[in-house]
């Protein structure tokens, strides 16, 4: 393994572990699994939603850890590499606070809009069609690619004291904004089906992870998670070439 790959794995391994635990928790804790909680929310009246706030929020946070955790390898490496060793844990925590704050706010907006759409378009097919059109328009737009490219941005960070704290938090906030900008449509679409939200989450996770591997110019273009298929094809070809 190259020295750079080793550095990546030192950060990626704990993130994968946290993601794995989060998936297990989502599967095994019935009160907060997306399927049970979200389904219940879709069928609830607005005043009943207040009582579901805690399980909904807990489910959302676990979902973030499960889906987005592994995507944070690059920014977390940057925060840790460019901080003093004695500050790495603190800088990491501040980054994650800023990042989570954005996604929690995004979660509220996405949930409310999904619930509103559920009320307006009670037919599941219509709901999915509306969500699909909006999602695809965003997916192929240069704005989406601009957000995706900014997910690779590694800005300079102050090293000492309050300025270092401020910059780590700010980096978390900005990364959260670009990440939410890149992924909101897929996340929102995964909330629209009447059932099977866990499967929808899993598919969305693979989609988002595959997309994050790409960097291209910001322009209107067909854009999708084709890279995993290319990897499989390329590695298969290599295997046959060796044999």
């Amino acid at each position: 393994m190259s020295p750079a790959a080793l550095e990546r794995w030192r950060v990626r391994s704990p993130l994968l572990l946290v993601a794995a635990f989060s998936w297990v928790a989502l599967l095994c804790l019935p009160r907060i699994t997306p399927t049970s909680v979200w389904c219940a929310a879709l069928m609830s009246q607005p005043k009943q939603l207040a009582a579901m706030f805690v399980p909904l929020s807990l489910g959302w946070v676990l979902m973030l850890a499960a889906m987005m955790g592994p995507l944070l390898t690059l920014p977390l490496r940057h925060v840790r590499d460019r901080s003093f060793t004695r500050r790495r844990t603190r800088a990491t925590a501040l980054f994650l606070k800023g990042y989570a704050a954005i996604w929690i706010a995004a979660g509220v907006l996405l949930s409310v809009s999904a619930l509103v759409l559920n009320r307006i378009a009670q037919d599941a097919f219509l709901r999915l069609a509306i969500g699909g059109v909006i999602g695809l328009l965003w997916q192929f737009s240069p704005f989406k690619e601009r957000c995706l490219n900014n997910c690779h941005a590694l800005t300079e960070l102050s090293a000492f004291g309050a300025a270092a704290d401020r910059d780590a938090l700010r980096f978390g906030l900005s990364h959260g904004i670009w990440c939410a900008g890149s992924c909101w449509a897929i996340m929102w679409f995964a909330m629209l089906p009447p059932r099977g939200h866990l499967i929808a989450m899993a598919v969305a996770t693979l989609w988002i992870f595959s997309e994050r591997l790409n960097k291209t110019a910001s322009r209107w273009d067909w854009r999708g998670p084709v890279r995993p298929f290319r990897i499989v094809i390329a590695q298969t070809r290599l295997l046959f070439a060796r044999n």
């Binding site: 750079a4 060793t85 490219n149 941005a153 300079e156 090293a159 000492f160």
Partner: protein
């Protein structure tokens, strides 16, 4: 029998046959339209293209027919920078270009074993632009020499094109590792592990110096408009200058020279390097060949010069190895301790990289001399001193230390800096050559600073090894300080409109 790439200054005369045939081949490629895959401008766009810049420089117009989107997506904007693919990709690019020139040479009645010369600007008396490129005329006095381009301004942007010997060096040749890290330490001789990387933020050793430097020194900037680069100064126009290919021939030759010092100084064996980015589901390396087909290649396909059918006339090692024992002796170790260390084994690189200090706030680079103070974390500074002291006693590997200029952004590539560390306040840096950290060329900075680009305008991050400076400060008991001064001295005054800035200046240790 292998084709031999020769030193352009040792062919016999300024317009010896290899250069004359090169000029004829270049002329043939230049006659072809942009949409033809073996045309001069198409090959330039393979390295990089920026339509507005090409138009301003007169290399693109409304009447040009562009190749199809599929062709452009396959071939254009392919150059690998800030990546461990930098060397193998450019080797393949040169080979394909050489094949196209050779095809034109043979069709014009020239030799089938024509090979691309190289420009060894390090050799005494050979740092001026080869005369055939400096003349607007062919040797018979007829104008329109295809090797001449007006947008080649030189280090002082006055049209006198040469490579100043004090601004380039072969320090990268002493790095024992091909690939390194992005965390603040050594990037390695050949660059860091990336996927397909058209404009990476972290350049490797040989890419930084002399490669980037020669680009900037030869291209310079338009004296009438400092924002307009010489062709060689910008990655999106560099492939349009005929001297580009002789420069890269030399870089390719230096790669072969570096490989002559096993057991260190070897190419990666990692399958991700050998099989290239195509094996990772990304774009493949692909070049148009004279027979109309595309040549798809991987780094593994271009490691053996004998199999590729060429060689260099001179692969003499240029720089003596630095051993651990040499450094220990310089630090004050006894002969016995130095001998007990890995005698004769070159300095190897530790895996632990840690920040030692940093300045506060972004630094605008304007004018002639910019200063900042890197504040040292006292705990980390004591760690470095302790490791140096321990190394002298026990012979263990001492740390390497690197100065980082992070997130360097700007609107032009046509400038370069000398960087000094620890020069006394009020003193002229030029009076302290032992505090000279290194040179930084901004080749690639403009492209990396574009906000809508692949790295969202974060610029480039440079790493300069300052191990010797830190060793010297330690020996003079001058390392126990709160801050270390850093001086950035542009080789030409930087205009405010160039908007050059350094996000952060920092110092890292790399060791056990």
């Amino acid at each position: 029998m292998a084709n031999t790439r020769q030193n352009v200054y040792e062919l016999g005369n300024d317009w010896a046959d290899p250069i004359l045939w090169y000029a004829r081949g270049v002329a043939a490629m230049k006659k072809r339209d942009l949409k033809i895959a073996t045309s001069w401008r198409f090959y330039g766009a393979i390295h990089g293209i920026d339509a507005p810049l090409w138009t301003q420089l007169g290399y693109l117009s409304q009447s040009d027919q562009m190749p199809s989107a599929n062709v452009r997506d396959r071939f254009w904007k392919q150059c690998q920078h800030g990546s461990w693919y930098f060397l193998p990709w450019h080797r393949g690019y040169l080979l394909a270009f050489e094949a196209n020139i050779r095809d034109a040479v043979v069709k014009a009645g020239g030799p089938a074993n024509w090979a691309l010369p190289y420009w060894n600007y390090f050799k005494p008396g050979q740092n001026a632009l080869p005369p055939a490129f400096a003349s607007q005329d062919w040797p018979d006095g007829q104008g329109n020499n295809p090797l001449f381009v007006p947008q080649r301004y030189g280090p002082n942007s006055d049209g006198n094109v040469f490579v100043p010997s004090d601004q380039v060096n072969l320090d990268a040749m002493t790095d024992p590792d091909f690939t390194g890290v992005t965390s603040g330490g050594s990037r390695g001789f050949g660059g860091v592990d990336t996927g397909f990387e058209h404009g990476g933020q972290f350049h490797g050793g040989i890419e930084t110096q002399p490669h980037d430097w020669v680009h900037g020194l030869v291209g310079g900037g338009d004296p009438a408009n400092p924002q307009m680069p010489g062709l060689m100064s910008d990655p999106d126009t560099a492939g349009l200058d005929p001297i580009f290919w002789l420069h890269h021939s030399n870089i390719d030759r230096l790669w072969e020279v570096w490989r002559q010092n096993p057991p260190t100084d070897v190419n990666p064996t990692d399958p991700n390097w050998i099989n290239g980015p195509g094996s990772l589901g990304q774009r493949i390396f692909s070049m148009p060949m004279p027979d109309g087909n595309a040549w798809d290649f991987t780094p593994g396909d271009v490691v053996d010069l004998a199999k590729l059918g060429y060689q260099y006339d001179d692969q003499t090692p240029l720089v003596a190895a630095i051993s651990t024992s040499d450094r220990l002796v310089q630090l004050g170790a006894t002969a016995a301790v130095a001998k007990a260390a890995a005698v004769g084994v070159r300095v190897t690189t530790g895996k632990n990289v840690e920040l030692i200090g940093a300045n506060q706030g972004s630094l605008r680079v304007v004018g002639q001399d910019v200063r900042t103070a890197v504040r040292l974390d006292q705990g980390m500074r004591r760690k470095v001193s302790a490791k140096l002291a321990a190394a002298v006693q026990t012979g263990q590997q001492p740390d390497r230390v690197f100065l980082n200029l992070e997130n360097v952004r700007g609107l032009t590539d046509a400038t370069a800096f000398k960087v000094y560390v620890g020069v006394p306040e009020g003193a002229a840096p030029s009076q302290y050559p032992d505090r000279f950290a290194g040179n930084i060329s901004l080749f690639g900075v403009r492209k990396a600073s574009v906000p809508s680009g692949e790295h969202a305008g974060q610029g480039l991050t440079f790493a300069l090894e300052i191990t010797k400076i830190i060793d010297a400060l330690h020996l003079n008991n001058a390392l126990d300080v709160e801050t270390l001064g850093v001086r950035i001295v542009p080789v030409r005054p930087v205009a405010e409109e160039s908007n050059i800035s350094v996000g952060r200046v920092s110092i890292f240790r790399q060791g056990s």
